[in-house]
Amino acid sequence: MFDEKDLILEAKHVTRRFPAAGGRSLVACNDVNLKMYRGKTLGLVGESGCGKSTFMRFLVWLDTPSEGEIWYRGEDITKLKGRKLWENRQHIQMVFQDPSTSFNPKMRIRDIVCEPLLNYGRIRSSEKDAKARELLEMVELPGDFAGRYPHNMSGGQRQRVAIARALALEPEIIIMDEATSALDVSVQETIIQLITKIQREKNISIGFICHNLGLIQSFAHQIAVMYLGNIVEVMPGEGMADVCCHPYSKALLDAVFDTKMDFSKKIEPIKGEPPSPLDVPAGCPFADRCPHCREICLQERPVLQPLGPDHVVACHRFGKGEGA
């Protein structure tokens, strides 16, 4: 499904460590390898503290990895500085999670969505009104919202404005950090429809952070599952439930509640709690909670191995030469 010539961004061995008390370090991202393709959505799924937000923030230069490279447009973007960095920002934009805190409360919608364009000198002050209407139209909001303040709008409307702002610079990639988590379920649906429509029309790649597998599989082309800073599996979005095989991915799958599930099925939650990120044990990070844990799992950290078309998994039960 993914053509290598459509590869537009590749993260290689990205690691992020934060120094913590007592000489220890908190490993937020551990040897993360991910690819993004033109016009396709990559879903990054995991629970709180798994490092998914930390990783995505590298892509918009809100943070820098301790190790590793991220290749985009022929350059390692983690090494960019100054003017080159500023110019590259136009190509990768972001929509934040909470629509009530992602806007300057003192700015009107018009100024919010036109700010990126003024920053890069793409429009003049006099053109703000017209351009704001154009952008609002793109996200199916009436043009006269331009004069409003964000707090006079609903959560769903604000999130549309956030998308409009992200589209202003016509980026190639948009990162969405749990962009629908704070919204009601019916509003969520309309936002997902809007996002996929815009993606089709403008061929934009989307990196979508989510904690809910049920949601992400409905619109992601590929899904990466993260646990304790490690990518444990990357699989195609379509038919994900059938090919999904990493024990943690399966646990996430089992934890999905939806209206069409089998209600007689008893829940088997995974036991225990994730270890502290300050003290990740050697070997597989999921070892102490995995029902299939073996000797090798405690000693050697599994790396991502290809399992099928567009499917890689980091587990000693799969991959080359391993039996079940």
Binding site: T41, E47, S48, G155, D184, V185, S186, V187, Q188, E189, I192, Q193, T196, Q199, H211, N212, L213, G214, L215, Q217, S218, F219, A220, H221, G237, E238, A241, A251, L252, L253, D254, A255, V256, F257, D258, T259, K260, M261, F263, K266, I267, P269, I270, G272, E273
Partner: protein
């Protein structure tokens, strides 16, 4: 006789009527989910049952009857006897309900000793036993921890343990899993189902997560803008209902193997 009967209840804050004409009945051992989007009034209803409406809120019409007794006319003393023993509540963030500067054990002991006359030692032992019965690993350690030392999921389970100490007939849950990770949510949901299986506890759970609500419920109530839009058995709400709003809401819930947008 139904365990709990809410009949034509109006809840108002001053002159503003927030919830209109709400009627609901719950049998023993039944689990009822109240779902709705923001502003639907679902949290207001459940708080009214336990008499916990925030400043100025009042039931201005109708009645809430528990085991034949009206809850709207109880005295403070009667409430003290009822809460914890007959009716308990767990909240979205049970951790925030606890005093962060006291050990969980001490908070628990205080809770027990307000409900029965026992020594601190006995109360401590009872608390530890209850945590064990709720399948919390290492209850001793938890009793000797501060709330911030536990994870969100563990705190929530301590909250459930405390609420269940006296095996109340009715457990009210206000968004009990909304602040939790999905795998933890699964643990809590299972735990709550077991409460019904083992203790015969009736549960009313308020949640915006329709998936969780569907899984747990025998009966679902759909609220919109302060009124009950639709209610019925799970089957009815998910598959049979004609109500346009309910159908739209159910359709909007993403499901595995369901609608794809790409």
């Amino acid at each position: 006789m139904a365990l709990l009967e809410i009949t034509n209840v109006d809840i108002s804050y001053g002159k503003r009527v927030i919830v209109k004409d709400c009627s609901l009945s719950l049998e023993k051992g039944e689990i009822c989910s109240i779902v709705g989007e923001s502003g639907s009034g679902k949290t207001t209803v459940i708080r009214a049952v336990l008499g916990l409406l925030a400043g100025g809120g009042r039931v201005t019409a109708g009645d809430i009857v528990y085991e034949g007794r009206s809850l709207l006319t109880l005295s403070d003393r009667e409430w003290r006897e009822l809460r914890g023993h007959d009716i308990s509540m767990i909240f979205q963030d049970s951790g925030a309900m606890m005093n962060q500067t006291r050990l969980i054990g001490n908070s628990y002991v205080e809770y027990i000793r307000t409900h029965e006359d026992v020594s601190k030692k006995e109360a401590w032992a009872k608390g530890t036993e209850m945590l064990g019965r709720m399948r919390l690993p290492d209850p001793d350690r938890i009793m000797r921890s501060y709330p911030f030392q536990l994870s969100g999921g563990q705190r929530q389970r301590v909250g459930i343990a405390m609420g269940m100490t006296y095996q109340p007939r009715l457990l009210l849950a206000d968004e009990p899993t909304s602040a939790l990770d999905v795998t933890t949510q699964a643990q809590i949901v299972r735990q709550m189902m077991e409460l019904r299986d083992e203790y015969g506890t009736s549960i009313i759970i308020v949640t915006h997560d329709i998936g969780v609500a569907s899984y747990m419920a025998d009966k679902v109530v759909v609220m919109k803008d302060g009124e009950i839009e639709d209610q019925g058995t799970r089957e009815h709400i998910l598959r049979e209902t004609d109500n346009a709003y309910t159908r739209k809401l159910m359709e909007a819930v993403p499901s595995l193997g369901g609608k794809r947008y790409v």
